[in-house]
């Protein structure tokens, strides 16, 4: 059964375009999507996810599972970086370990979207408000990462640069992509509650085929980027390669158990697992670049973008689905 799930996941346009991007690099085609077009896609996707999430949140605000799920998600985004940090310290210095740990505590919105598409194609229902935990998992992970640097780093940091809590909070909340996602969420929520007409006008922009098409385009670019990043990862050594594949699976297993405790149904459970298993390549690296320049950008970008992201998109989603089927809805397993 797993291969059939895998195939069903792979044979969707977004994942196929992701492969098209990877193959382009492998066969040395000169296909490229020049800057700032990927930024356009990324801004659009964040805005669209946010607005939709705000709307769904307004509808689902009274559902019983919502609050526990959000809280559990935030806790996961605090705990996962700590686990990752412990593992990474086996081989890496404090700066690099903290930066990578923060990335794995945070989330990847595009992995989330792809999982949603997968659920839809499988006919498995899920709640739109799962975007809320998504939006709330970035900041805590960044805070933990920076706090680890503050507390664990050698006291004599070069240039006596002291990290201030104020700065940590700023980087974690006001980072461009976190800000746009949270802001759009609030706009979606406000519009849904005070201006249903306005909502009807913006929804097609954020939910129709345009979203699906941009997702395909973005994944095409992500395929190119991921494949270009892979050699960088090889340089970083086998420890990080193993980490970039095993850590998401470990986090996913953790996520399955929490999802079971939360009594989530299969669809929401998969999304929750994806939040745990995916790693950030937007907000966290940006925050780290500014505040922890000692960490190598090539490390935290190559692990998340070059290996964990493709792994999750291609193999992770159907694999986690099977885990969910087994442990959460055994009747379907």
């Amino acid at each position: 059964m797993e291969t059939s799930l895998l195939l069903q996941n792979v044979l969707t346009p977004p994942v196929l375009f992701f492969f098209l991007g990877i193959i382009a690099v492998v066969v040395r085609s000169d296909l490229e999507i020049p800057a700032p077009l990927p930024k356009l896609f990324s801004l659009y996707l964040l805005l669209a996810i946010g607005v939709r999430g705000g709307f769904e949140l307004q509808i689902g605000i009274k559902e019983e599972t919502l609050l526990p799920t959000v809280c559990a998600a935030i806790i996961m985004s605090l705990v996962i970086p700590l686990i990752c940090f412990a593992v990474l310290r086996l081989k890496l210095d404090v700066f690099n370990a903290a930066a990578i740990a923060a990335a794995y505590g945070s989330i990847s919105a595009v992995t989330f979207i792809t999982a949603e598409s997968f659920l839809k194609s499988q006919g498995i229902p899920f709640d739109g408000w799962m975007v809320a935990p998504l939006a709330l998992m970035e900041s805590p992970a960044i805070i933990v990462g920076l706090a680890l640097v503050k507390l664990a780093a050698p006291k004599n940091r070069p240039n006596k640069r002291v990290m201030k809590w104020r700065k940590i909070l700023h980087e974690s909340m006001l980072n461009g992509s976190v800000y746009l996602l949270l802001g759009s969420l609030i706009i979606g929520f406000l519009t849904a509650s005070h201006n249903p007409d306005g909502l009807e006008k913006i929804r097609p922009f954020t939910e129709s085929y345009l979203f699906y098409g941009v997702e395909c385009f973005f994944l095409l670019d992500m395929g190119i980027v991921a494949a270009q990043r892979l050699p960088g990862l090889r340089k970083a050594g086998s420890f990080l390669i193993v980490f970039a594949v095993c850590m998401p699976v470990f986090n996913a297993v953790l996520g399955v158990f929490i999802a079971k405790l939360l009594l989530l149904e299969a669809g929401n459970a998969l999304l929750f697992v994806i939040l745990c298993a995916s790693a950030s390549y937007l907000a966290v690296p940006t925050a780290m670049r500014m505040t922890v320049p000692e960490a190598k950008a090539s490390y935290y970008i190559s692990t998340t973008l070059g290996l964990t992201f493709p792994f999750n998109i291609v193999i992770g989603i159907p694999l986690y689905m099977q885990l969910v089927n087994k442990f959460i809805s055994p009747s379907l397993g």
């Binding site: 990927p38 640069r161 960088g232 390549y281 690296p285 940006t286 950008a297 970008i301």
Partner: protein, 93 residues
């Protein structure tokens, strides 16, 4: 007259420009979206969408005295975040 070429990360640009203004440079020009490799880092195009920012190439034409002040002001940023700064001779056309 001197010509100063700075190459720094776009994300530090604001700090650098503040430092230049404090040193009272007569003007400056910024070219963003530069990529490259240095002793420490590789900066590629996809830095752009991830928000990491590419490099910026800053050109300043100014007198020697101002250069001293610039050096003081941007020194710490360069040594912490990386980047290069080179001076050549230039004469007004």
């Amino acid at each position: 007259m001197k010509r100063l070429d700075l190459i720094v990360s776009e994300r530090e640009l604001d700090t650098i420009i503040e430092a230049l203004e404090k040193a009272e440079v007569p003007g400056y020009t910024v070219l963003k979206h530069a990529t490259g490799r240095g002793p420490q880092t590789i900066v590629s195009e996809d830095m752009e969408f991830t928000g990491l920012g590419a490099n910026a190439h800053v050109i300043i034409f100014c007198e020697q005295e101002i250069l001293e002040k610039v050096k003081e002001n941007i020194g710490p940023t360069l040594s912490y975040y990386g980047g290069v700064a080179y001076v050549s001779e230039a004469t007004e056309l």
